[in-house]
Symmetry: C2
Amino acid sequence: MKMERSPASEALTIGELAALFGLATHVIRHWEAVGLVTPAARVNGRRRYHPEHITRIAMIVQGKEAGFGLAELREILDAPDLVTRRALVERHHAALERRIAEAQAAKVMVEHILDCPIADFTHCREFQRIVQRIAVPVPLLAPADAPYQSRLEPGNDEL
Amino acid sequence: MKMERSPASEALTIGELAALFGLATHVIRHWEAVGLVTPAARVNGRRRYHPEHITRIAMIVQGKEAGFGLAELREILDAPDLVTRRALVERHHAALERRIAEAQAAKVMVEHILDCPIADFTHCREFQRIVQRIAVPVPLLAPADAPYQSRLEPGNDEL
DNA sequence: CTACAAGTTGACGTTAACATGAAGTCAAGA
DNA sequence: TCTTGACTTCATGTTAACGTCAACTTGTAG
Protein backbone atom coordinates (compact mmCIF):
# COMPACT_ATOMS: atom_id res chain seq x y z
CA MET A 1 0.00 0.00 0.00
CA LYS A 2 1.22 3.44 -0.89
CA MET A 3 0.26 6.95 0.09
CA GLU A 4 -1.81 5.86 3.04
CA ARG A 5 -2.09 9.22 4.77
CA SER A 6 -1.51 12.82 3.84
CA PRO A 7 1.97 14.05 4.71
CA ALA A 8 1.04 17.17 6.64
CA SER A 9 -1.02 16.59 9.76
CA GLU A 10 -4.42 18.02 8.81
CA ALA A 11 -4.23 18.44 5.05
CA LEU A 12 -6.13 16.32 2.54
CA THR A 13 -5.19 15.48 -1.00
CA ILE A 14 -7.84 15.75 -3.65
CA GLY A 15 -8.18 11.99 -3.64
CA GLU A 16 -8.85 11.86 0.10
CA LEU A 17 -11.32 14.71 -0.06
CA ALA A 18 -13.15 13.09 -2.93
CA ALA A 19 -13.26 9.74 -1.14
CA LEU A 20 -14.97 11.35 1.84
CA PHE A 21 -17.99 12.01 -0.32
CA GLY A 22 -17.72 9.22 -2.82
CA LEU A 23 -16.94 11.75 -5.51
CA ALA A 24 -14.50 11.48 -8.38
CA THR A 25 -11.49 13.74 -8.19
CA HIS A 26 -12.27 15.24 -11.55
CA VAL A 27 -15.58 16.41 -10.16
CA ILE A 28 -13.81 18.46 -7.51
CA ARG A 29 -11.43 19.83 -10.13
CA HIS A 30 -14.44 20.76 -12.19
CA TRP A 31 -16.00 22.55 -9.26
CA GLU A 32 -12.73 24.37 -8.83
CA ALA A 33 -12.75 25.31 -12.50
CA VAL A 34 -16.13 26.96 -12.09
CA GLY A 35 -15.04 28.71 -8.90
CA LEU A 36 -16.90 26.62 -6.35
CA VAL A 37 -13.93 25.38 -4.36
CA THR A 38 -10.30 26.37 -4.08
CA PRO A 39 -7.56 24.31 -2.48
CA ALA A 40 -5.81 25.90 0.45
CA ALA A 41 -2.40 25.54 -1.17
CA ARG A 42 -0.29 23.56 -3.59
CA VAL A 43 2.49 21.24 -2.52
CA ASN A 44 4.58 20.37 -5.50
CA GLY A 45 1.68 21.33 -7.67
CA ARG A 46 -0.69 19.05 -5.77
CA ARG A 47 -3.83 20.48 -4.22
CA ARG A 48 -4.10 20.50 -0.45
CA TYR A 49 -7.41 20.84 1.37
CA HIS A 50 -8.22 21.77 4.95
CA PRO A 51 -11.12 20.66 7.15
CA GLU A 52 -13.18 23.67 6.20
CA HIS A 53 -13.17 22.37 2.67
CA ILE A 54 -15.06 19.34 3.94
CA THR A 55 -17.84 21.61 5.13
CA ARG A 56 -17.77 23.40 1.83
CA ILE A 57 -18.05 20.21 -0.19
CA ALA A 58 -20.80 18.96 2.10
CA MET A 59 -22.77 22.10 1.44
CA ILE A 60 -22.30 21.75 -2.27
CA VAL A 61 -23.41 18.13 -2.24
CA GLN A 62 -26.42 19.02 -0.13
CA GLY A 63 -27.30 21.96 -2.30
CA LYS A 64 -27.01 19.94 -5.46
CA GLU A 65 -29.26 17.25 -4.07
CA ALA A 66 -31.80 19.94 -3.41
CA GLY A 67 -31.66 20.87 -7.07
CA PHE A 68 -29.49 23.96 -7.02
CA GLY A 69 -27.06 24.60 -9.84
CA LEU A 70 -23.37 25.16 -9.35
CA ALA A 71 -23.68 28.84 -10.18
CA GLU A 72 -26.41 29.31 -7.59
CA LEU A 73 -24.37 27.56 -4.95
CA ARG A 74 -21.36 29.69 -5.73
CA GLU A 75 -23.47 32.79 -5.27
CA ILE A 76 -24.60 31.72 -1.83
CA LEU A 77 -21.29 30.42 -0.61
CA ASP A 78 -19.28 33.37 -1.82
CA ALA A 79 -21.58 36.13 -0.67
CA PRO A 80 -19.28 38.90 0.58
CA ASP A 81 -21.31 39.96 3.58
CA LEU A 82 -24.22 39.03 5.79
CA VAL A 83 -26.73 41.24 4.03
CA THR A 84 -25.93 39.98 0.58
CA ARG A 85 -25.97 36.39 1.74
CA ARG A 86 -29.25 36.80 3.55
CA ALA A 87 -30.86 38.23 0.45
CA LEU A 88 -29.56 35.43 -1.74
CA VAL A 89 -30.47 32.75 0.73
CA GLU A 90 -33.97 34.09 1.16
CA ARG A 91 -34.46 33.93 -2.58
CA HIS A 92 -33.24 30.37 -2.64
CA HIS A 93 -35.32 29.53 0.39
CA ALA A 94 -38.41 30.56 -1.48
CA ALA A 95 -37.29 28.52 -4.46
CA LEU A 96 -36.81 25.53 -2.19
CA GLU A 97 -40.29 25.84 -0.76
CA ARG A 98 -41.71 26.03 -4.24
CA ARG A 99 -39.75 22.96 -5.21
CA ILE A 100 -41.04 21.06 -2.21
CA ALA A 101 -44.58 22.10 -2.96
CA GLU A 102 -44.23 20.97 -6.55
CA ALA A 103 -42.80 17.64 -5.55
CA GLN A 104 -45.64 17.16 -3.12
CA ALA A 105 -48.18 18.01 -5.77
CA ALA A 106 -46.59 15.42 -8.01
CA LYS A 107 -46.71 12.98 -5.13
CA VAL A 108 -50.45 13.51 -4.80
CA MET A 109 -50.82 12.82 -8.50
CA VAL A 110 -48.69 9.72 -8.30
CA GLU A 111 -50.52 8.47 -5.23
CA HIS A 112 -53.80 8.81 -6.98
CA ILE A 113 -52.48 6.72 -9.82
CA LEU A 114 -51.61 4.10 -7.25
CA ASP A 115 -55.08 4.14 -5.75
CA CYS A 116 -57.20 4.69 -8.81
CA PRO A 117 -59.23 1.58 -9.66
CA ILE A 118 -59.89 2.66 -13.22
CA ALA A 119 -57.82 0.72 -15.76
CA ASP A 120 -56.79 3.69 -17.82
CA PHE A 121 -56.31 6.31 -15.17
CA THR A 122 -56.22 9.04 -17.78
CA HIS A 123 -59.99 8.54 -18.02
CA CYS A 124 -60.47 8.88 -14.29
CA ARG A 125 -62.47 12.02 -13.59
CA GLU A 126 -60.87 12.60 -10.21
CA PHE A 127 -57.42 12.28 -11.73
CA GLN A 128 -58.22 14.75 -14.44
CA ARG A 129 -59.50 17.14 -11.82
CA ILE A 130 -56.17 16.91 -9.97
CA VAL A 131 -54.12 17.37 -13.07
CA GLN A 132 -56.06 19.99 -14.98
CA ARG A 133 -55.35 22.66 -12.46
CA ILE A 134 -51.97 22.79 -14.11
CA ALA A 135 -53.24 23.64 -17.55
CA VAL A 136 -54.38 26.99 -18.85
CA PRO A 137 -51.75 28.98 -17.00
CA VAL A 138 -50.98 31.77 -19.48
CA PRO A 139 -53.39 31.20 -22.34
CA LEU A 140 -55.46 34.36 -22.19
CA LEU A 141 -52.87 36.58 -20.58
CA ALA A 142 -50.11 36.22 -23.16
CA PRO A 143 -49.72 39.76 -24.53
CA ALA A 144 -48.24 38.46 -27.77
CA ASP A 145 -44.94 40.18 -27.05
CA ALA A 146 -43.28 37.32 -25.20
CA PRO A 147 -43.06 34.47 -27.72
CA TYR A 148 -42.94 31.81 -25.04
CA GLN A 149 -41.75 31.52 -21.50
CA SER A 150 -40.60 27.94 -21.11
CA ARG A 151 -42.31 27.73 -17.70
CA LEU A 152 -40.16 24.73 -16.95
CA GLU A 153 -36.67 25.13 -15.58
CA PRO A 154 -37.23 28.16 -13.36
CA GLY A 155 -34.42 29.99 -15.08
CA ASN A 156 -34.00 33.49 -13.69
CA ASP A 157 -37.44 35.06 -13.77
CA GLU A 158 -38.47 33.82 -10.36
CA LEU A 159 -35.16 33.64 -8.58
CA MET B 1 -57.13 38.25 -36.88
CA LYS B 2 -56.45 34.90 -38.43
CA MET B 3 -56.88 31.31 -37.40
CA GLU B 4 -59.01 32.06 -34.38
CA ARG B 5 -60.34 28.55 -33.75
CA SER B 6 -59.53 25.05 -34.87
CA PRO B 7 -61.57 23.86 -37.84
CA ALA B 8 -62.91 20.61 -36.47
CA SER B 9 -65.02 20.93 -33.36
CA GLU B 10 -62.82 19.41 -30.66
CA ALA B 11 -59.37 19.21 -32.23
CA LEU B 12 -56.44 21.39 -31.31
CA THR B 13 -53.53 22.48 -33.46
CA ILE B 14 -50.05 22.23 -32.00
CA GLY B 15 -50.05 25.95 -31.46
CA GLU B 16 -53.26 25.87 -29.47
CA LEU B 17 -52.11 22.96 -27.38
CA ALA B 18 -48.79 24.65 -26.67
CA ALA B 19 -50.53 27.91 -25.76
CA LEU B 20 -52.60 26.08 -23.14
CA PHE B 21 -49.46 25.43 -21.17
CA GLY B 22 -47.33 28.35 -22.21
CA LEU B 23 -45.04 25.97 -24.05
CA ALA B 24 -43.26 26.46 -27.33
CA THR B 25 -44.51 24.35 -30.19
CA HIS B 26 -41.06 22.95 -30.78
CA VAL B 27 -41.08 21.59 -27.26
CA ILE B 28 -44.13 19.50 -28.04
CA ARG B 29 -42.54 18.33 -31.27
CA HIS B 30 -39.47 17.41 -29.27
CA TRP B 31 -41.59 15.41 -26.83
CA GLU B 32 -43.14 13.70 -29.80
CA ALA B 33 -39.69 12.90 -31.18
CA VAL B 34 -38.77 11.13 -27.95
CA GLY B 35 -42.09 9.29 -27.86
CA LEU B 36 -43.81 11.20 -25.10
CA VAL B 37 -46.78 12.45 -27.08
CA THR B 38 -48.36 11.57 -30.39
CA PRO B 39 -50.93 13.63 -32.24
CA ALA B 40 -54.25 11.96 -32.85
CA ALA B 41 -54.00 12.49 -36.58
CA ARG B 42 -52.64 14.63 -39.36
CA VAL B 43 -54.72 16.97 -41.44
CA ASN B 44 -52.74 17.89 -44.50
CA GLY B 45 -49.60 17.12 -42.58
CA ARG B 46 -50.62 19.26 -39.62
CA ARG B 47 -50.82 17.67 -36.18
CA ARG B 48 -54.21 17.45 -34.52
CA TYR B 49 -54.65 16.92 -30.80
CA HIS B 50 -57.66 15.79 -28.80
CA PRO B 51 -58.67 16.70 -25.25
CA GLU B 52 -56.92 13.66 -23.80
CA HIS B 53 -53.68 15.15 -25.03
CA ILE B 54 -54.27 18.03 -22.67
CA THR B 55 -54.27 15.62 -19.76
CA ARG B 56 -51.17 13.99 -21.12
CA ILE B 57 -49.30 17.26 -21.47
CA ALA B 58 -50.44 18.35 -18.02
CA MET B 59 -49.02 15.17 -16.56
CA ILE B 60 -45.74 15.71 -18.35
CA VAL B 61 -45.47 19.29 -17.15
CA GLN B 62 -46.31 18.23 -13.62
CA GLY B 63 -43.86 15.36 -13.71
CA LYS B 64 -41.10 17.53 -15.08
CA GLU B 65 -41.64 20.08 -12.35
CA ALA B 66 -41.21 17.29 -9.86
CA GLY B 67 -37.86 16.54 -11.38
CA PHE B 68 -38.61 13.52 -13.54
CA GLY B 69 -36.88 13.07 -16.84
CA LEU B 70 -38.70 12.59 -20.11
CA ALA B 71 -37.69 8.95 -20.29
CA GLU B 72 -39.06 8.28 -16.81
CA LEU B 73 -42.32 9.98 -17.67
CA ARG B 74 -42.65 7.96 -20.84
CA GLU B 75 -42.20 4.78 -18.83
CA ILE B 76 -45.00 5.68 -16.46
CA LEU B 77 -47.39 7.03 -19.02
CA ASP B 78 -46.95 4.17 -21.45
CA ALA B 79 -47.11 1.32 -19.00
CA PRO B 80 -49.07 -1.42 -20.78
CA ASP B 81 -51.06 -2.67 -17.80
CA LEU B 82 -52.03 -1.87 -14.25
CA VAL B 83 -49.39 -4.07 -12.66
CA THR B 84 -46.51 -2.65 -14.65
CA ARG B 85 -47.67 0.85 -14.02
CA ARG B 86 -48.11 0.29 -10.31
CA ALA B 87 -44.57 -1.04 -10.04
CA LEU B 88 -43.12 1.88 -11.96
CA VAL B 89 -45.13 4.44 -10.07
CA GLU B 90 -44.18 2.95 -6.72
CA ARG B 91 -40.53 3.27 -7.67
CA HIS B 92 -41.03 6.85 -8.66
CA HIS B 93 -43.09 7.50 -5.58
CA ALA B 94 -40.16 6.46 -3.44
CA ALA B 95 -37.86 8.67 -5.49
CA LEU B 96 -40.27 11.55 -4.97
CA GLU B 97 -40.29 11.09 -1.22
CA ARG B 98 -36.52 11.02 -1.20
CA ARG B 99 -36.44 14.16 -3.25
CA ILE B 100 -38.82 15.89 -0.86
CA ALA B 101 -36.75 14.80 2.11
CA GLU B 102 -33.59 16.09 0.48
CA ALA B 103 -35.16 19.42 -0.35
CA GLN B 104 -36.38 19.72 3.22
CA ALA B 105 -32.93 18.93 4.57
CA ALA B 106 -31.53 21.64 2.35
CA LYS B 107 -34.23 23.94 3.65
CA VAL B 108 -33.10 23.29 7.21
CA MET B 109 -29.57 24.14 6.20
CA VAL B 110 -30.64 27.29 4.42
CA GLU B 111 -32.82 28.34 7.33
CA HIS B 112 -29.95 27.99 9.70
CA ILE B 113 -27.87 30.24 7.49
CA LEU B 114 -30.67 32.77 7.77
CA ASP B 115 -30.75 32.55 11.55
CA CYS B 116 -27.09 32.07 12.35
CA PRO B 117 -25.64 35.16 14.01
CA ILE B 118 -22.05 34.22 13.24
CA ALA B 119 -20.52 36.29 10.45
CA ASP B 120 -18.94 33.42 8.58
CA PHE B 121 -21.52 30.71 9.06
CA THR B 122 -19.08 28.07 7.88
CA HIS B 123 -17.46 28.49 11.29
CA CYS B 124 -20.72 27.97 13.12
CA ARG B 125 -20.57 24.76 15.10
CA GLU B 126 -24.29 24.12 14.87
CA PHE B 127 -24.18 24.58 11.13
CA GLN B 128 -21.30 22.20 10.75
CA ARG B 129 -23.22 19.66 12.82
CA ILE B 130 -26.17 19.93 10.44
CA VAL B 131 -24.04 19.64 7.37
CA GLN B 132 -21.50 17.04 8.36
CA ARG B 133 -24.07 14.30 8.55
CA ILE B 134 -23.85 14.36 4.82
CA ALA B 135 -20.13 13.69 4.66
CA VAL B 136 -18.37 10.39 5.08
CA PRO B 137 -21.02 8.41 3.29
CA VAL B 138 -18.97 5.77 1.48
CA PRO B 139 -15.41 6.33 2.69
CA LEU B 140 -14.81 3.11 4.57
CA LEU B 141 -17.29 0.97 2.69
CA ALA B 142 -15.98 1.50 -0.83
CA PRO B 143 -14.94 -1.99 -1.94
CA ALA B 144 -12.43 -0.60 -4.43
CA ASP B 145 -14.32 -2.24 -7.30
CA ALA B 146 -16.60 0.66 -8.07
CA PRO B 147 -14.31 3.54 -9.11
CA TYR B 148 -16.81 6.15 -8.13
CA GLN B 149 -20.56 6.39 -7.95
CA SER B 150 -21.38 9.98 -8.69
CA ARG B 151 -23.89 9.96 -5.79
CA LEU B 152 -25.50 12.97 -7.36
CA GLU B 153 -28.03 12.64 -10.13
CA PRO B 154 -29.86 9.52 -8.94
CA GLY B 155 -29.17 7.77 -12.21
CA ASN B 156 -30.43 4.22 -12.17
CA ASP B 157 -29.00 2.66 -9.04
CA GLU B 158 -31.82 3.73 -6.80
CA LEU B 159 -34.69 3.83 -9.18
C1' DC C 1 -55.42 36.52 -55.62
C1' DT C 2 -52.23 37.82 -52.37
C1' DA C 3 -50.19 38.21 -47.75
C1' DC C 4 -49.14 36.43 -43.92
C1' DA C 5 -49.50 33.69 -39.83
C1' DA C 6 -48.90 29.12 -38.50
C1' DG C 7 -47.36 24.71 -39.64
C1' DT C 8 -43.79 21.34 -41.59
C1' DT C 9 -38.96 18.85 -41.61
C1' DG C 10 -34.07 18.77 -40.95
C1' DA C 11 -29.84 20.25 -39.40
C1' DC C 12 -27.21 22.31 -36.20
C1' DG C 13 -26.32 25.12 -31.73
C1' DT C 14 -26.62 25.62 -26.55
C1' DT C 15 -26.25 24.90 -21.52
C1' DA C 16 -25.10 22.29 -17.40
C1' DA C 17 -22.41 19.16 -15.28
C1' DC C 18 -19.67 16.25 -15.69
C1' DA C 19 -16.86 11.90 -18.15
C1' DT C 20 -13.01 10.26 -20.58
C1' DG C 21 -8.57 10.04 -22.43
C1' DA C 22 -3.85 11.47 -23.38
C1' DA C 23 0.59 12.61 -21.87
C1' DG C 24 3.41 13.89 -18.51
C1' DT C 25 5.05 14.72 -13.15
C1' DC C 26 5.98 13.22 -8.54
C1' DA C 27 6.71 10.30 -4.24
C1' DA C 28 7.65 6.13 -2.11
C1' DG C 29 8.06 0.97 -1.55
C1' DA C 30 10.65 -3.35 -3.08
C1' DT D 1 16.47 2.31 -9.70
C1' DC D 2 12.24 0.81 -11.24
C1' DT D 3 7.57 0.60 -10.81
C1' DT D 4 3.24 2.01 -9.40
C1' DG D 5 -0.32 4.84 -8.17
C1' DA D 6 -1.95 9.40 -7.29
C1' DC D 7 -1.64 13.58 -9.17
C1' DT D 8 -1.22 17.36 -13.01
C1' DT D 9 -3.14 20.01 -17.34
C1' DC D 10 -5.52 20.17 -21.66
C1' DA D 11 -8.70 18.61 -24.87
C1' DT D 12 -12.53 16.42 -26.36
C1' DG D 13 -16.91 13.51 -25.64
C1' DT D 14 -21.54 12.81 -23.41
C1' DT D 15 -26.38 13.41 -21.92
C1' DA D 16 -30.70 15.89 -21.36
C1' DA D 17 -33.74 18.98 -22.93
C1' DC D 18 -34.39 22.03 -25.50
C1' DG D 19 -33.32 26.47 -28.86
C1' DT D 20 -32.45 28.37 -33.44
C1' DC D 21 -32.45 28.68 -38.26
C1' DA D 22 -33.55 27.83 -42.94
C1' DA D 23 -36.53 26.61 -46.56
C1' DC D 24 -40.68 25.24 -47.58
C1' DT D 25 -46.16 24.31 -47.58
C1' DT D 26 -51.04 25.47 -46.02
C1' DG D 27 -55.06 27.98 -44.71
C1' DT D 28 -57.63 32.00 -44.10
C1' DA D 29 -58.59 37.17 -44.05
C1' DG D 30 -59.10 40.91 -46.92
